[in-house]
């Protein structure tokens, strides 16, 4: 059965992911950006990940920018990437559906590495997301498959390794990669 993931575990994993990203960039380029923070979370608040967002409010090493729409978040992420900054988008499935054209235009057609954490709000604990009775849960993986976007689902604390792995994957394939958050974080 899937389990909820504690917010501190996700935040520690994000920090490690950002550290690794900065280290890799420093090896690749002569003029990496010099900032005191580790990286950026671009968020359109997601009920499913609200404990993470609340904990991030107290974090000084991670900058959080709340965006009005997921279109904005994906495009701001593109600008940050061009400037050398590590970014993670935290949105929910409804926001993915709302921003498909930007996902296509910026991350896919623009070949811009873009890593998403997408909350599956209302996902039932005893059902695979594709079998959910809620269309917003059920259509998420098929939509990502349609666009050829690699994705994995966090089904418990043991799965947080997907965060750095799919972040790296977005860099390697120069496009989007997604980690779905299976149950509400705690």
């Amino acid at each position: 059965m899937p389990e909820s993931i504690p917010a501190p575990l996700i935040i520690d994993t994000l920090k490690d992911t950002f550290r690794e990203a900065r280290k890799e960039l420093a090896a690749e380029v002569a003029e990496p950006p010099q900032h005191s923070h580790l990286g950026w979370i671009l968020s359109v608040p997601d009920t499913h990940q609200k404990t993470v967002l609340a904990a991030l409010d107290k974090e000084e090493q991670i900058r959080v920018l709340t965006c009005a729409t997921e279109d904005e978040a994906a495009t701001i992420a593109g600008g940050l990437y061009i400037g050398g900054e590590p970014v993670v988008l935290m949105i929910q499935h409804a926001g993915l559906y709302a921003s498909v054209n930007t996902l296509r235009g910026v991350a896919m057609d623009g070949h811009i590495p873009t890593f998403y954490m997408i909350g599956l709000l209302s996902r039932e604990k005893d059902k695979a997301p594709r079998e959910s009775r809620h269309s917003m849960v059920r259509y998420c993986e098929p939509l990502l498959d349609t666009f050829g976007i690699p994705h994995a689902t966090l089904e418990g604390p043991d799965d947080v390794h997907y965060i750095p792995e799919y972040y790296r994957l977005s860099r390697q394939r120069k496009g989007p990669a997604v980690v779905l958050v299976g149950l509400e974080t705690i």
């Binding site: 950006p33 950026w40 965006c67 009005a68 495009t75 701001i76 600008g79 050398g84 054209n101 070949h111």
Partner: protein, 204 residues
Amino acid sequence: MAAGTNTPDAPPMKPEEVLRLIAAQRGTAICVPTMTTSPEWRAIAPDDLSVGCVGFMGGASSLGLGLALARPDRRVLVLDGDGSLLMQLGSLATVAGAAPRNLVHFLFKNGVYHTSGAQGIPGGLTVDFVTMAKGAGYRAVLAIHDIEDFKRRLPELLKMDGPVFAELHTGLAQQTPMTARGGVPFPEQVTKLRAKLLRPRVAS
């Protein structure tokens, strides 16, 4: 009111002339053109310090915001359109909330979707983007109706603390992305600008 007749006594500014003035004074600023500012901009400033927003209409201000946050050491100039901004109007609040001091948001206001055939935008020229930007929280906002005024104000606009919003009352550009196709594809623009900013190490 017809497109481009912004005030009874001031002919609309020619967007090409406005862009040439910006290009002459931008220095090392990163520029983000979109839609009808794109063809002329790539002719005037065919460098690798620009990245155009084409294919995700409405995204210029957000792309500029990301660049401005990543590179506070450089100015970022967004060359937006009124129809484009309406597609992501919430970005005014997001930009203002992030409060990048290095961002100048130029809005080329002509009242129409020029690229798709000059259909009027909702509300036409009566839409007051200056009030919206001010209400959203931009540090400085203004409207400019004539080219002499623009020439006077531009040096200060390029220096003052942002986010700055300047609504520029312009006529229609001579070219649109539909009449002047081509240019460097978006992914190549991304790669070139990123290389210019970060200077990748050359493998020995």
